[in-house]
Amino acid sequence: MAADQAASAAAPPRAARRPARGGAAARLRPLTPYLLMAPAMLFLAYFLFWPAIGAFGVAFQTAAGQWTFANFQALVRDTDFGLAVRNTFLLLAIIIPLEFAVALAMAVLAQSRLRGRGFFLYVWSFPLAISDLAAGLVWLSIFTSHGYLNSALQDVHVIQHPIGFLDYDNVPGLILAVVLAETWRSISLVMVVIMSGIQSIPTELGEAAAILGASAWKRFTTVTLPLLKPTLQVGLMLRTTTAFQVFAVVLALTGSGLPVLATKTASWAYGARNYQMAAAYAVLLLMLSSLATLAYLTFLRTPREVFQR
């Protein structure tokens, strides 16, 4: 774009200049950006968009290729289906508010002029580069019945005998472990998203509010938070989509003790080699995260002028 402008500035009589370049090359020039974009877009279309649609085809067909609803009827009757839905939503309902509340505090802290800010930011963002599997294994060392949490509690004489946090029938314990591990892993992402939003808020607004005598808390609730709404909306959509897919952290901490929708998908595909059932679970996941996205778009709607600030 800049190149074009510079070229036309250098040669004001445009009409006179353009044909001079002439020939096939000149006629192809407008196509250049499309030619540059094409390989990437085709690749994405084939390996991302097409399979996303293809999942519906697999889910609504029998193994032999006949259209059917049978997979979804089987899905509803599946042993752990109800539990998987309940657990997925339970984890979501605890993790998302917890994460956004703490991540907001972290983002505000990281923006304030603390000494050692660089160090704090580094430590708070390192989980961006670890997997949910790693997070599950790390917290496993804390939550096993002979793990560090029980050891610490026993050291300070809070308990006499180890608590079986990860026993298959201790649902609150399993939920607690997964919530902590998953929050520990993904809170960095939420923090970075929120920080990128805070940085786009003009500092003059906060300064003006301060001059008018607003306290730090008042400035946060009346200036920062409202202007952060579009960022929070995008962050919530993003994080909810990934939270629906919670997988390896659950597997690492609970085995099959806490079935969720993504572990059910994997076990149908991997263990049972039943791709129709796996696709049915995946389609259900897509529907649920689409519904959540729609809900955020509807209920967190931002007036246009605020969005553009």
Binding site: P33, W124, S141, S196
Partner: protein, 284 residues
């Protein structure tokens, strides 16, 4: 400072108030830091303890016996080293694919205006909303048809698709920082457009493109679900760990957890300047 305190009592009150506030801020910051670092300390403690000490109870919370036995056991465990090499291969292939496909697209976004540009950018930003869970099943069916299932290439193709949107967006922001005038200067000295891009734009973009490559690698290195679905006998490291989870000794899992966590500190150290480009919303 002391003079001011002595002569102005009002300032004392204010200074103390501010100090209290700052103390609270530091307190919170340190608390959060402890929450982030304590689990890393504990998994290191578990992974570096002797195999016998893992069954001690209660565990001492300070290192008493340090040994590399657990780590050695993990790394020499059947299939772990090949899986590690496969993970590196998948990561490398992912980086190459996503840079080769992504840089031209990023250049188009940085330097040209074209019809559909806004739409393309919107799609690239929102692609993250597609659940990875949903694409893996149809792709598995496709790869089985192509006789490509359970291979490094199949996993790398999907990982490249996952990382490509981000690579395009990062490389576009990197190319934007190279002044177009440099390119024009090179062209006026006689190189072609392509020559200018290769000799002027690319050398000036190396640090940014390296960060984009690192992002692609880390995403691939950490990706579990697609790898678990697409591989069976030739798993990547995370997929191998998931396969072994239920019937591996606990020491194996702790050593694996540590080995998967430590590289993150190195990765993030180099990625710091680009965190907002990659994970933030909107902005540049």
């Amino acid at each position: 400072m002391t003079d001011a305190v002595a002569t102005r009592p009002a300032a004392v009150v204010r200074a103390r108030h501010v100090d209290g506030g700052r103390l609270l801020l530091y307190g919170c910051a340190i608390l959060i830091t402890l929450f982030m670092l304590t689990p890393v300390y504990l998994i290191a403690l578990a992974a570096f303890s002797t195999p016998e000490a893992i069954f001690d109870y209660p565990h001492p919370l300070v290192p008493t016996s340090i040994s590399l036995d657990n780590i050695r056991f993990f790394l020499t465990f059947q299939g772990i080293l090949p899986a590690l090499l496969r993970s590196l291969a998948v990561g490398g292939l992912t980086v190459v694919l996503s840079l080769v496909l992504g840089c031209p697209a990023g250049y188009a976004l940085a330097r040209y205006w074209f019809r559909g540009k806004d739409a393309a950018q919107l799609v690239l930003v929102n692609v993250r909303a597609i659940p990875m869970v949903i694409i893996s099943i149809p792709l598995l069916v496709t790869f089985i048809e192509w006789n490509l299932n359970d291979t490094v290439v199949s996993v790398a193709l999907v990982h490249a698709a996952i990382t490509l949107p981000l690579t395009i967006l990062i490389s576009a922001s990197v190319f934007l920082r190279v002044p177009a005038e440099l390119e024009e200067a090179a062209m006026s000295l006689g190189t072609s457009k392509v020559g200018a891009v290769i000799r002027v734009v690319l050398p000036n973009s190396v640090p940014g493109l390296a960060a984009a490559a690192l992002f692609a690698f880390v995403t691939s290195w950490n990706e579990v679900f697609v790898a678990v679905i697409l591989t069976l006998r030739n798993p990547t490291l995370p997929a191998a760990l998931v396969q072994q989870l239920s019937d591996s000794p606990i020491a194996f899992r702790f050593a694996g957890g540590l080995c998967l966590t430590v590289p993150a500190f190195v990765f993030i150290f180099f990625m710091r300047p680009y965190l907002f480009n990659a994970f933030g919303v909107g902005g540049k």
